[in-house]
Symmetry: C2
Subunit: 643 residues, 2 copies
Amino acid sequence: MSKHSFWEARYRLNRDASIPAVLQTFEETGRIRALTRELREGEKQHIFWESDLAKWLEAVFLHLQKEEDQELRDFSERLIDKLIRNQEADGYLNSYFSFHEPDHKFTNLKVRHELYCAGHLLEAALEHLKLDPDSRFFAALEKYIDHIAQVFGRGVGQKRGYPGHQEIELALLKAYEYTGKAKFLELAGFFLDERGQAPHYFELEDQKRAEYEKPVDYSEFPSEVRDFISWHMSGLKRRDHTYYQAHQPAFEQKTAEGHSVRALYMFTAMADYARLTGDPQKIAACKVLWENITCRRMYVHGGVGSAHIGERFSFDYDLPNDLAYAETCASIALIFFAERLMRIEWNSEYADVIERALYNVVLASTSTSGKAFFYDNYLEYIPDFQKFQHRRHGVRDEYHTCSCCPPNVLRIIADLERYIFSQPGEEIMVNQYINSEKSFDLGDGTISIQMESALPWGGKVRVVVSSNSNQPRKICFRIPSWDSAPKILLNGEPLKLKPESGYLGVEKVWGARDVVEVDLNLTPYVVRADPRVRYNANRVAVFRGPLLYCMESTDNSSHLNQYLLDEDPKFTEIPQDQLAPGAIALETEGYRVEPSTTSLYSRSRPKRSRARLRLIPYFLWSNRGECEMLTWVLEDSRYGLSS
Amino acid sequence: MSKHSFWEARYRLNRDASIPAVLQTFEETGRIRALTRELREGEKQHIFWESDLAKWLEAVFLHLQKEEDQELRDFSERLIDKLIRNQEADGYLNSYFSFHEPDHKFTNLKVRHELYCAGHLLEAALEHLKLDPDSRFFAALEKYIDHIAQVFGRGVGQKRGYPGHQEIELALLKAYEYTGKAKFLELAGFFLDERGQAPHYFELEDQKRAEYEKPVDYSEFPSEVRDFISWHMSGLKRRDHTYYQAHQPAFEQKTAEGHSVRALYMFTAMADYARLTGDPQKIAACKVLWENITCRRMYVHGGVGSAHIGERFSFDYDLPNDLAYAETCASIALIFFAERLMRIEWNSEYADVIERALYNVVLASTSTSGKAFFYDNYLEYIPDFQKFQHRRHGVRDEYHTCSCCPPNVLRIIADLERYIFSQPGEEIMVNQYINSEKSFDLGDGTISIQMESALPWGGKVRVVVSSNSNQPRKICFRIPSWDSAPKILLNGEPLKLKPESGYLGVEKVWGARDVVEVDLNLTPYVVRADPRVRYNANRVAVFRGPLLYCMESTDNSSHLNQYLLDEDPKFTEIPQDQLAPGAIALETEGYRVEPSTTSLYSRSRPKRSRARLRLIPYFLWSNRGECEMLTWVLEDSRYGLSS
């Protein structure tokens, strides 16, 4: 990425502000001291703390792969030492269990995140291996995976189990692709295939544990606690295997169910497994799940997993705005899934969803300071409402007890290049218009692509292509979902191209310097939801290019649902550099509806008058103190009637 | 009440179906066996079981006051014996504490419902006293109250406490009015005046208990439970005195806060206390609270307490339909408060709210079988939504572990006569048009009123007045909020009367037989909410007379938010006797909006086509199996624009 671009600034914020800030919270809360048994009075190691460190390390290694930083390098090498020093002779590597429950290893896969931690450690170790071909971190993890492959399997004395929180599957498939070692593919396949089989492993495991574990006697809890447990925990006490996507074998699942991050980590692994095994039925199964999510269970900002109890998928079209969960990690996992599908086939839908989640949920999840993060990503926020619903406040926090999201943001921003280009076959796909430079080895030569993009604030994209090959080669430029007919010029000459699966393919023998210009239309527009999304009836969401916009009460009056947008709103673009360099706010003339009586209910209509509405990019919300926020704004129209 | 009327049928259902059904659940679950220490293996006495029995007894006594039933009388007398046999020598009467925690009496007023149980027992005993002037039940309760008055007070060694769940205050004021004994008034005044004073009694109590009670160590709970506790219990762990309306002295409170039933039982007592002490400032304080509730915190069906976590009031205009709590008991308590205010002054608002809550929430809370009850009263119900929000299902249950609502319904239906007439001064107010007969002693003679009303299905009301007094006397007929100009005839002659505070006052020397006819307009109409109620933007609620209507998917297609009502809808009335004798459904031609693309989000508008909508009375919903339900239907209009 070249300097001074939008994403370059975001990348630097990640490296310079977020990585140190997240590390600081991990150090302060004992995650590093725990590895050397140096916890302080009152501190208690948590079962998935190692996964937090692993994700942080992975982000660091991704940065170090691009740019050396001796201090960060030294620190991370010392952290690796602390982590792997706890490895046991047989390869087992999880300090929580080694220190606190050595007899309970792999006895509660359902809820205890052991294999999840192994997966994140393996992912981090793989990025370390790219920095250091003799990585002792990867060696330790390979030894641990070999141990896991001995414990789990279909042989005599082996456990036919699988993780309650998926993650290791996708890590194993990454390891297979990078090392070529079949054992990684086989173990991933085992975990995917065993899932949801009868007899149910989690039930067998529960029965076994019941022989020695004292069951929790909920009736002995104070009554005030008991009530909450009986109401809210019913799903956990029941045999709700959908929560863990263990209700059916993985490739037989048709809808996205249960905990959204678990589900999407699994779908990501499924897509890789389907591609690597070349099984068309498995590929088809992944596309059924993709379609269920993106056509029926995804928020307009790219958030998924709408139900806050259980952080989970619920049912088709259930997308409440004020109650939204839409965990940051879930959108990151959706991006993973989309990227894996993009490796299988040409279809701009995948890049569209990546763009949607990246520019909205992922960007929004971090404060402009880089130091505070959202866990849930509301689409409507009213401070008192969330308070009385006992939901998290609409203010980013520097620390979350359950810290999965911040380091996930670190690693996806550090790995952004992955999403820009792809090569599913012979063609080179330009999926995201983000400043970058990349060379592709064609066998008979190379193609180098240098891209400069003004997105998201400007619509001009300039791509310089240099090749030394004599063969014609197709470079495909994505048509974004929000501009069906972008202007495209080759060396200054307009091209008339027929779209193919959402891309404009320019095929030619590329010379020493060909220039392709793509001119994207950033006129603000509104989108409407399928009317089965009951929350959005007669409402619109405002976009400019890939950016969702929202109203904040800071710029308007409170009670944002008293505003109406005109049916065909015209927006004025207002520079708002004080929010973020280059940022553009939108203003339009609409209406504000006011009560016409003092009665709470009456036969009379409320009255309305012209009013200005100001919207800001959604990803910048809540950077000026806590206030109301609204994405889906009421439209001044007769619902369903064409204007 | 005369036979064959709507309310007579409801009254008989209460007596013949609901009273036995509720008793059966109480017997089966051990509430009666607990009194004689005969609980079975696994059964555990609950701290407020006696209040359930007290409310059931009160309903029975109210019925017995109108009509003898030897079997019910004998049973209830035996139950009284079982209850009062547990009274201790000093008067203490609460079998839970006597049996299980004799050393903890009155040590945790904040959460342990001891004084609440005393209040309900006193209310029941007062109704028994009306049946039996030598009531041993009332004698036992008077002894218990004397004991309480020794324990609590401002003297040396007395506790300056007050109940965490209000109830005893209103019971004491009933006792004062019926017996004339000042001690009851004084104790009620003490509890009201001490509330919210500094130093805070609940904090002192917490400190004292901490000396001997082991604190609950939440950190030792399983992590899955701990999360829920930290999220949901934060309000209970914090010193949130608003929950108990103990954040300020009672008469200084300006808004309805905290647990809705606690709040409204207290407001009811406050109104009685204000009236009985004749303090205009206290009366004004009650009216401020009334205005806050009815103008900003009340659902269109008369439900209050919108937040399900804590069963509580939240903030102005926060009235979500699908998440509504709107506990049955809270609407019953709102009716109590309104009835007390109606004793203070002429104002048809009070009777309007009583009517709204009675015909909608209270009626809806019971199944047509009379045997199953709602605890929460949703205004929109989508089975999967409530399931994923871990809320109660939209099906009435025969038994609720926390059984406060069913016996509260029993006693308000048994006591319905109370709400029909009132006599705040010289005038006789006709507040509800319900079949009834009543005589009023005027000093110089009597007036007898016999009323026949076709409500809610028909609008004709016929009132026959007979008097032997020579003095002119005013009888005031309420103008319902839904018919601002009812036709009124005196002996066949139309009367032109100027409304006074929402009533039409007919003043004359009444003869041996004067006939007043009131003809109420039952043309269906729609109401709109204050636009600050964000959930109801561009939506209307359909009414016919006092009855709110709703759509059920049983009569329409699913996804009820895809329907639109015309801006000025005309309804056809359809008899629907299979739902309830005389019931009327409404049909109208509106629209159904359908997706116009397969995309979840798109720039195109959905399309619409003409469709029939059928609505049924809200109180009859969910009597034909679980299905979707909607009260606030989208309107085909430009929001805020006069048509």
